[in-house]
């Protein structure tokens, strides 16, 4: 099942709708790499609310995307991690300390906005 990627302004939003195979994860990764370049995106939000399991393969791929994005001076935010999935990630040992997280899409977009203040935006209002 391909993961739909929406473009909203300078942000890409990937909304995972269902359980992903490793192949699906790699496809998502490739698509994000391609689109972040094509659209010169400032940020990526990955919504994992519908994901059943965040195992070491998914965690590794998400971390790679986050680091790739940061190397471009942009940011990735992970949103919608369910409490039980978060708990399993901690037990497994992939707590993704270095990845930005937010409760849901709305808060993820707000977080991106505030992060953009450092690297991306120049001549922001009133400063």
């Amino acid at each position: 099942m391909p993961v739909p990627i929406l473009k909203q302004g300078s942000v890409l939003i990937a909304s995972i709708q269902t359980a992903l195979t490793d192949t699906d994860v790699l496809r998502l990764q490739n698509k994000l790499i391609e689109q972040v370049g094509r659209y010169r995106s400032r940020g990526i939000v990955v919504d994992v609310a519908a994901i059943d399991v965040m195992d070491s393969f998914v965690a590794r791929s998400l971390r790679a995307i986050a680091q790739m994005t940061r190397l471009r001076g942009a940011e990735m935010v992970l949103v919608g991690i369910q409490p039980e999935v978060a708990f399993a990630m901690v037990q497994l040992g992939t707590s993704l300390e270095d990845v930005h997280t937010a409760l849901d899409l709305e808060e993820g977009l707000a977080l991106l906005e505030s992060l953009g203040g450092e690297a991306g935006r120049h001549g922001g209002p009133g400063s």
């Binding site: 359980a19 490793d22 059943d52 965040m54 070491s56 393969f57 039980e84 399993a88 497994l92 040992g93």
Partner: protein
């Protein structure tokens, strides 16, 4: 009232099978009345050992069954393959150890996710992992 112990068996050969196995395990655990958190822990552990089968052995199987022991009931997961085996089990159970470029947390992580965990492996003959999550008393 004691229904025959439920059991599901999933052949593992591709990454679709990894998803099928963890979903089957989750459903069985759900039928036994385990909590949502436990279902997710079990499904995550199955995902790790099933992926190892595809990555290191090529193919194998996962069997998930209900077990009863000393009045407690639980979910037992057996992951079995006839692949190359694990040379140094103790090392394979250390965080960060990988021979395949992974994160190296699959086996130690699965052990943390489950209540009981055992590996039996013979080089050239294969690997069997047996792990259990007990329902709360």
């Amino acid at each position: 009232m004691a229904a025959p112990a439920a059991e599901v068996r999933v052949e593992i050969a591709s990454d679709d099978d990894v998803v099928a196995a963890r979903q089957a395990g989750r459903r069985l655990a759900e039928q036994l009345g385990l909590a949502l958190t436990d279902l997710t822990l079990i499904a995550t552990a199955i995902s790790e050992v099933a992926r190892n089968i595809t990555a290191y052995a090529g193919c194998g199987e996962i069997v998930v069954r209900q077990i009863e022991q000393r009045g407690r009931s639980g979910v037992e997961v057996v992951a079995r393959d006839e692949g190359p085996g694990i040379e140094d089990i103790e090392r394979a159970l250390q965080d960060g150890y990988t021979t395949g470029g992974g994160l190296g947390i699959g086996l130690p992580g699965a052990r943390r996710l489950m209540d009981d965990f055992a590996i039996s492996s013979h080089v050239g003959r294969g690997t069997t992992i047996t792990m259990t999550k007990w329902a709360p008393a």
